[in-house]
Amino acid sequence: MSKRIVVDDLNVFYGSFKAVEDVTLAIEPRTVTAFIGPSGCGKSTFLRTLNRMHEVIPGARVEGKVLLDGDDLYAPGVDPVLVRRQVGMVFQRPNPFPTMSIRDNVLAGVKLNNRRMSKGDADELVEKSLQGANLWNEVKDRLAKPGSGLSGGQQQRLCIARAIAVEPDVILMDEPCSALDPISTLAIEDLIEEMKNDYTIVIVTHNMQQASRVSDRTAFFNIAGTGKPGKLIEYDDTATMFSKPSVQATEDYVSGRFG
């Protein structure tokens, strides 16, 4: 289920503006990798290139390679839709489909793709995914209710359940807790800890404590100034990054001297 990601010399552009420059890194399966850095340093942009979600933004393009267990996501003929079925994504704000029930939200990946599924299989998938997102016990009695009626933290876990129902290999999380209260945040962090047994997880976060709590490896991105491209400054084990980083900028950032 879990796959290895290798990024080789990746540049991201918005039109003629270079947003991210020369990123090379490898993400191991069954780990949690955190991207940290100040606002505008390109970490979210970079995250989106890992499942080609940046293509939704007009004018965005990349140069370089992203290999998923050796397959280049940007090779000619590769269908971004199929890439995204293998690399799922959870967003900053919980975004359940307002027209669908909780159950349908979990099954969205199946239903929206017009795939047929027997009711038994569907029930099983709903339960498995909601269990996987630690939400089953809270919603099992109201699966037919709209997903927008849940609390923010529950909605975010519903979105995670929706992402894992597609059975991806990698799950990208773009600041998944930034719109949540501390208790809901804790629930998500616990969930991430459990999920890394099955998935490769990449999480962008503004919160350095969160990075140190949930991640095995941490990548620090920084930007030289406005209008300059974001760069990968340092990438190492989380413990090393937060105790004795090798680059001064990393030290300044994790110790709260800027950002």
Partner: protein, 312 residues
């Protein structure tokens, strides 16, 4: 692993995607085609009218001298309507946006929108059967008392079916659109500007003068222009209320009134034949050009506001 995974990423382009985006592009192109067709067919049918002789033009000696009085009537009636409607529309818009209790405001907006829902033919019927007899005493009074102003000189039409009555009907008809647009603009006035004015000790009216009206001026102008565009093209109310004659005259109350392009077409088209049809279509083309120009001005004003609105 690699061998089995690689095909999973590759896929032929989806037929669904291509059909769907193709349909969307086609629909968009149909609009381009329709407008091209409107222009082409109207021009094609108009060309014969430009060279037509005096026999087919009810006395005018060329197409341009035939359409001249009609253009004047169209502009005159619509201009009068705008003069009547604009102050009232501004008042209503201010009332809804800044005076009425917040909970009532939306309901009041609906009430004004009801006016927009009334079909023009009903306005025409109302104008001739209710309004014209109602305003007749007013016209007599006006002509008796301020008749020395050429605008109001007599003799007053015996039926009340004059250009002024038409203008009132048109004013009522364009009231909702001007009101709705002005209301939107007024509601967008930055709260901070308003509060700043109030904090300086301004009364509500002074606040409106300082904050709301300057901010809304381009919006008001474009709303007025769009209202004018509506009034220019309005057909039935004019056709029904006026007893038409083709002339240029500024008097408001007499029985001889200039008519408008649209009304002239509506009244003469059912009986027109041969080259007469082409003449009428050509006048329609002239009307199209005029409304296009007016709407273009409105659009330019709106866009300039988008560019300059420093208050976001």
């Amino acid at each position: 692993m690699t061998a089995s995974a690689a095909p999973r990423l590759r896929a032929k382009t989806r037929p669904g995607d291509r059909v769907f985006s193709g349909t969307a592009i086609t629909a968009g192109s149909v609009i381009v085609a329709i407008l091209a067709a409107v222009a082409i067919f109207l021009i094609a049918q108009s060309i014969p009218a430009l060279t037509v002789g005096a026999d087919d033009l009810k006395g005018a000696d060329s197409f341009w001298s035939y359409v001249g009085p009609l253009v004047f009537g169209t502009l005159w009636a619509a201009g009068l309507a705008l003069v009547l409607a604009l102050p009232v529309a501004l008042g209503i818009a201010l009332f809804i946006s800044h005076y009425a209790p917040r909970r009532l405001a939306q309901a009041l907006g609906y009430v004004i929108d009801l006016l927009a829902a009334v079909p023009s033919v009903v306005f025409g019927l109302w104008g001739i059967k209710v309004l014209a007899p109602m305003v007749l005493p007013l016209y007599v009074w006006l002509s008796d008392n301020v008749g020395w102003i050429p605008l109001f000189s007599g003799p007053v039409s015996g039926t009340g079916r004059t250009i002024l009555t038409v203008a009132i009907v048109l004013a009522v008809m364009i009231l909702p659109i001007i009101t709705a647009l002005c209301r939107e603009v007024f509601l967008q006035t930055p709260r901070l500007h308003e509060e700043a004015a109030l904090a300086l000790g301004a009364t509500r009216w002074e606040m409106i003068q300082m904050a709301v009206l300057p901010f809304g001026r381009p919006g008001i102008i474009s709303a007025a222009m769009l209202g004018l565009g509506r009034a220019l093209g309005e057909t039935m109310a004019v056709a029904m209320v006026l007893s038409p004659s083709v002339l240029i005259s500024f008097v408001l109350l007499q029985s001889q009134n200039p008519t408008t392009i649209a009304a002239n077409i509506a009244l003469n088209f059912p009986e027109a034949h041969g080259i007469g049809v082409n003449v009428l279509i050509a006048t329609g083309l002239v009307l199209f050009v005029i409304t296009f120009a007016v709407n273009a001005v409105a659009r330019v004003v709106i866009n300039s506001r988008k560019a300059f609105s420093g208050a976001n």
